[in-house]
Amino acid sequence: MTRGMYVRRRLLLMLPTAFGVTLVTFFMIHLIPGDPAVTMLGIRATPKAVALLRREWGLNRPLYEQYWLFLSRIVRGNFGTSLFYGSSATGLILRASLVTLELIVYAVVLSVVIAVPLAVLAATHRNRIADQAVRAIPLVGMGMPSAWIAIMLILLLGLKNHVFPVAGLQAGFIGHLDSMFLPSLTLSLGIAPLLIRSLRSSLIDAFEADFVTTARSKGIGEYRVLIRHAIRNSLASSLNILGLQIAFLISGTLVVESVFALPGVGALMVNSIFRRDFPVVQGITFILALAVILTNLGTDIIHSMLDPRVRFE
């Protein structure tokens, strides 16, 4: 089949998968102990007040009815009303998702900017000092907890030298780039090492492949060999790894968001679970499930664009 047909089929399959995820989440969050009405009203509220609030929130209806209501709202793009803030859950979730999305995109860009040159450096100077350094140093980023990296960056670049803002999200495009730099860097230092290693080893394999030998024997300059032939053929497996890491990042930005006080989806999700803010938890799960599926699809598509040998069935 063509790429177009493949993409259409994948997009269609995306919806039932996302709904499957929300079904599991819905029942899990409703069946664990903890009543949002009691949490909201505090322990001095009368049982009557609690019952009234549960009725207002529709929590006294049978679970399957509540799930049906949730589904019927979602297809219209409505996540309901947050039990805690009393405002539209859709608005809350979208605002938070945009922050996290920015964070992830920025982190991916930074990690590619860090990984590609370093991997090329290592592969072209194989087993020499540059290679050893590039293989050893990024392991620090992989091994250290992101909270520690975050605080180190804050102390070094935020506090001591005032190069970047320490926390919070500043308004405006430049404000965003500025205040999101340190958090995105923290995330990218976590994912770059794996990318560097995988790209380096694919490059080394490519350098030894027949097509590179052919290119060199045709007299093509080393630089063109590198860019047009070696890198293009090495990106595929690293791209898969990047895709997987993005999928992990999507639900893993909580620590960085906490330390840098960014109002993203991680913090919103955890707080909503603690408060049993059902509509928000359900909405976020749905969005995250969609995001992960789309990321996988995107990775496959880009892979097929890079490598014409890929066939769809």
Binding site: T39, M40, A167, G168, A261, P263, R275
Partner: protein
């Protein structure tokens, strides 16, 4: 108390003129007297303002986002303290925490049958939309508050009359000592009549109040912007043009923001950082006397804790000094009474069932469980402070043969379990928001279902119940004091919960912040704050 010239950092000197000095003396003398008139308020505010500068934005970093700015619905501290920036109550709590001062009301009379309270409203008070405040607003607010989660504070009121625009009459079904104090409760902060015809959601997007600040915007989970209320009833105040509340949950990030100068005041510096902060130039640490009381409850739904000797043994076994050293880094004092010293009617001679391993062993030998038993201590997941307390208690109780397993629950599950009494021991912290202990006493030892703040013990003592009702139905302070002394003594001896310590409200700020001085209720009173840059 907030005396004018000396509330700044070390070494600050003000040129205090003789006139200002005399005013400060007058303010001091009158405030000690407790409930007093109009004059005191004006005098003390002028005395404090001798060097104040107008202008500037105060950046205030807090650990959590408020849940609501609807006074009747607020129950978490961030919401409560934010509410008090936007709206005012009829009475405010003094700096000592022991009495109320007139705020939007100027005074009251009590009828001879002690059932009718006639409150007089201050004239010239305007809402932030310029319209004057009058008795219809007060009546609307109280009737609305009777429908929310804080309705219990008005349970004695059975009718509200407004004979004229500046008078509100409250009728109680029986004599009710705490009523003036109840009027200082944040949930009774005055809203405009009928919310100016708006629905709740619309009104609270751009609320209208008589408080020193108006909410300009609220980006939930992130920050809230307040701007100065030009119609504020206290002449010349607030000094600040605006306030930005930032929500920064991570303790370290808040600390770094303060050190980096990006934030003027930070809430709750971790106790472990206090010593280092105190020696940081440019930063001042305030450990304000608070109304906070920490303890842990023991559920009497479990047979072991129904035994008086078991409870007393546990209290004698717990090493409070050790807890204060490890958890508060020394910034706290051991508690005997379930009243904090900053609550009115605190009884300093409350019996102390403090660390005494010999007495603990004697008590457990007298109980039905002389060889101890196994039990659990439930804490909220991620709560480091109470986790540490749990570990110390675990070690302490081993000595008398009680084996404690520490269990971690997520906050919502824990509060459900505690509310139902399905726990063994669980920590509790309580604060007082008004100038009368009645906000907390009934929930602690009064009602049949017992409970302390947020740890229900289900302790049921009919004698205590009777005393609690008496404390509410008595008006004369001297008599109420006697009753409360007895309540505190009996409670300490019966030991339904183990009292741990009294802790402060810690804040850290830049030295450029002046006038930040909060009473034990924790209300910020940002109308007194100014920036000295």
């Amino acid at each position: 108390m907030t005396d004018g010239g000396s509330s700044g950092g070390a070494g600050r000197q003000y040129a205090v003129s003789r006139r200002d000095f005399l005013k400060t003396l007058a303010a001091g003398g009158a405030a000690i007297g407790g409930v007093s008139g109009f004059g005191t308020l004006l005098t003390s505010s002028v005395a404090g303002a001798s060097a104040a500068k107008r202008g500037g934005n105060l950046t205030f970093a807090r650990a959590a986002d408020p849940e609501t700015i609807d006074p009747s619905a607020a129950i978490d501290t961030e919401s409560i303290w934010t509410v008090l920036c936007l709206y005012d109550c009829l009475y405010d709590v003094t700096a000592s925490g022991h009495s109320e001062i007139p705020w939007l009301a100027t005074g009251y009379e009590l009828s001879s049958d002690q059932l009718t309270w006639t409150f007089h409203l201050r004239s010239g008070v305007k809402f932030s939309d310029g319209r004057p405040m009058d008795s219809t607003d007060v009546r609307f607010t109280l009737e609305r508050a009777l429908k929310g989660p804080n309705a219990y504070i008005l349970s004695a009121v059975n009718a509200i009359d407004t004979p004229n625009a500046s008078t509100v009459v409250l009728h109680t079904s029986h004599p009710w000592g705490p009523l003036a104090g109840d009027m200082s409760m944040y949930s009774n902060a005055i809203l405009p009549n009928e919310l100016r015809g708006m629905k709740d959601a619309e009104f609270f997007n751009h609320p209208i109040g008589t408080g020193p600040f108006i909410m300009e915007s609220w980006t939930k989970g992130q920050q809230m912007l307040l701007k100065r209320n030009p119609h504020y009833w206290q002449e010349g105040k607030p000094y600040l043009d605006s306030v930005t509340f930032l929500t920064i949950p991570d303790d370290n990030t808040r600390l770094v923001e303060l050190k980096g100068g990006d934030v003027d005041i930070m809430e709750a510096p971790p106790y472990s950082s206090v010593a280092a902060l105190q020696s940081t130039p440019g930063i001042v640490v305030d450990l304000f006397k608070s109304s906070a009381v920490s303890s842990f409850g023991m559920s009497e739904k479990k047979p072991q804790f129904q035994d008086l000797h078991v409870r007393r043994a546990i209290s004698y076994a717990v090493d409070r000094e050790s807890i204060i050293k490890d958890v508060l880094f020394g910034h706290g004092t051991p508690a005997a009474s379930f009243f904090s010293p900053s609550w009115p009617y605190y009884y300093a001679d409350t019996p102390k069932l403090w660390y005494d391993p010999e007495k603990a062993k004697k008590e457990i030998a007298l109980s039905k469980y002389p060889n101890g038993f196994s039990t659990t201590f439930a804490v909220s997941a991620g709560d480091e402070l109470n986790g540490t307390i749990a570990q110390i208690v675990q070690a302490n109780l081993k000595v008398i043969g009680i084996d404690v397993a520490i269990q971690s629950y997520d906050p919502s599950t824990l509060s459900s379990l505690v509310a139902a009494g399905n726990y063994d021991m669980s920590p509790a912290i309580g604060t007082l928001d008004i100038s009368d202990p009645d906000e907390n006493v009934p929930a602690a030892v009064g009602e049949a279902y017992g409970g302390i703040y947020d740890a229900y013990t289900f302790y049921n003592n009919p004698e205590l119940l009777k005393l609690v009702h008496q404390s509410e139905n008595t008006i004369a302070p001297a008599q109420r004091a006697k009753i409360y002394n007895e309540i505190q003594t009996l409670t300490a001896e019966a030991c339904p919960f183990v009292m741990l310590y009294y802790s402060p409200f810690p804040y850290a700020e830049q030295t450029t912040v002046e006038g930040f001085d909060i009473p034990p209720t924790g209300a910020y009173h940002l109308e007194k704050v100014w920036l000295s840059l």
